[in-house]
Amino acid sequence: MARYIKANQKVAAYLHLENDRNMVKDGNYLLWQGDMLAFGPLTQLSETLEQIGGIALLAHEAREEQEGVVIRELPTATDERFVVEVTGETDTAESATTEEATNTEKEA
């Protein structure tokens, strides 16, 4: 049975697949099982998924994700290269944007 892999943006970027694979509602990507060969053989898929913080989905589950009907949480990656600190990054980004906007207004 074929598997689709839901993985975060850092994994997609690492594999250079941001433009090739579909992004789901929560900003993560749906990858094909063959994409995981970059991390190791498919016989070690469960270890690979722990490493990258991804989950394997069946075809109908992948479709649910694609349509946004069900959104599954991703586990935290054990490999620090793929750890996404969602709340922290978002806050920093938001504050940076606000600061920039304020500066622009002042200059104007």
Binding site: Y4, D35, A59
Partner: protein
């Protein structure tokens, strides 16, 4: 002054195009009808085809190698079932990269129908900078879909592909029963649904039996939908019946859309009268002088003996002609039926007369309509049938 013109003689540029699958998603997928799943499903993980266009300059002026970045007018066409369509930029099923190092790259986001490949035809232009010659680069790549269903449902009907109906001796009705098999087992009843359709020769379409309540007087589908009864005496000259099956492994066959890949079987019924012979009897060669009429009777038979009710499909036509010493005789139609009364007025006193019998097929039963194709009905809404 003596002048002569000189030109560079460039040798032709050699252009090559090849196609490769970019990434791990293959360009061949499988479809499992049991789970209604494609593997891989291109709508979830698209397939990417990359044309690789390269040049080789024998004069070694231009560097050899990939020239995708120089391509212009990059286009792709989709060919499905012999129909070629230009893939427009707003086509949601494809994404085409038209410039840059990967110009010509196409992302396929739709699935192919089983056994009907999608042929993708690439078109690009390249200008040879030495001579300004335009090179047109074309090539094709196919997306295949194979069947991976464990058991394909197979539909069968308990009737011959063509049934010859002899109205003189065969039973009027014939019940056709459908069967859907998965391997050697009959498909569970809750997972399949049969759809019976009749060919409409006027509109040239298949119409579901029962949809046209007035004209479907010759076919009836049973309440469970498994069988269909054809009244062959009312069907006309012929009838074409199609049965298709909806199959859903999850027990919801009603939601399945019928398509070209659905299990399907077409059978036909054809009315045909077998060869028969006829003669008439009951008239003496010498008729008494005061006889005003004669009453012959016709007999019609075939290899199985006398036909039991020949008037149902056949009509006896009686002719009489005054006999002459020479020349051809002129026959007049004087009566119809198996046992008519024929007046002897046409008998010549000297030469007598000749009585002829002809038997014709009165044809199949059909609904009566007016010049505008409107069917006649009685007061209760029943259609009127005539031969």
């Amino acid at each position: 002054m003596k002048k002569k013109r000189f030109d560079f003689n460039f040798r032709p540029l050699r252009i090559n195009v090849s196609f490769s699958v970019d990434g791990s998603v293959p360009d061949r997928q499988t479809y499992d009808a049991d789970s209604n799943e494609y593997t891989p499903d291109y709508t979830v993980t698209p397939a990417i085809i990359q044309p690789n266009v390269s040049r080789m300059d024998k004069d070694e002026i231009l560097l050899p190698g990939r020239i995708n970045q120089y391509l212009t007018n990059v286009r792709w066409y989709e060919i499905v079932g012999g129909v070629k369509t230009l893939i427009a930029s707003n086509n949601a099923s494809y994404e085409i990269t038209t410039s840059g190092d990967n110009a010509g790259r196409i992302k396929v986001k739709k699935n192919a129908a089983q056994s009907i490949p999608i042929t993708l035809q690439f078109y690009g232009e390249y200008i040879d900078t030495r001579t300004n010659q335009l090179h047109i680069i074309q090539g094709t790549n196919q997306i295949f879909c194979d069947n991976s269903t464990a058991y394909m449902p197979v539909l069968s009907l308990n009737a011959a592909d063509t049934t010859i109906y002899n109205p003189l001796s065969d039973a009027d009705t014939q019940t056709v029963t459908a069967s859907l098999k998965l391997g050697t087992d009959e498909c569970p009843t809750d997972k399949r649904l049969f759809v019976w359709e009749k060919w409409n020769p006027n509109d040239l379409v298949w119409a579901v039996v029962g949809a046209e309540t007035t004209l479907d007087y010759d076919v009836t589908v049973s309440t469970d939908g498994v069988s269909c009864t054809v009244n062959r005496s009312l069907m006309g000259a012929d009838l074409y019946l199609r049965c298709r099956a909806k199959y859903d492994i999850n027990g919801n066959p009603g939601s399945v859309a019928l398509g070209d890949a659905s299990p399907c079987k077409v059978i036909s019924f054809v009315r045909r009268l077998p060869k028969f012979e006829f003669d008439y009897f009951g008239v003496p060669t010498n008729i008494p002088a005061d006889l005003m009429a004669v009453a012959p009777f016709a007999k019609i038979w075939n290899a199985n003996g006398d036909l039991p009710i020949p008037e149902r499909e056949l009509l006896a036509l009686w002719y009489i002609a005054t006999n002459q010493a020479s020349g051809s005789l002129s026959y007049n139609l004087v009566a119809q039926g198996m046992n008519p009364t024929i007046p002897t007025a046409a008998l010549s006193q000297i030469y007598g007369a000749v009585i002829g019998l002809d038997v014709i097929d009165i044809g199949p039963v059909a609904a009566m309509e007016d010049g505008n194709g409107v069917v006649f009905e009685d007061g209760d809404g029943n259609v009127l049938l005539i031969h």
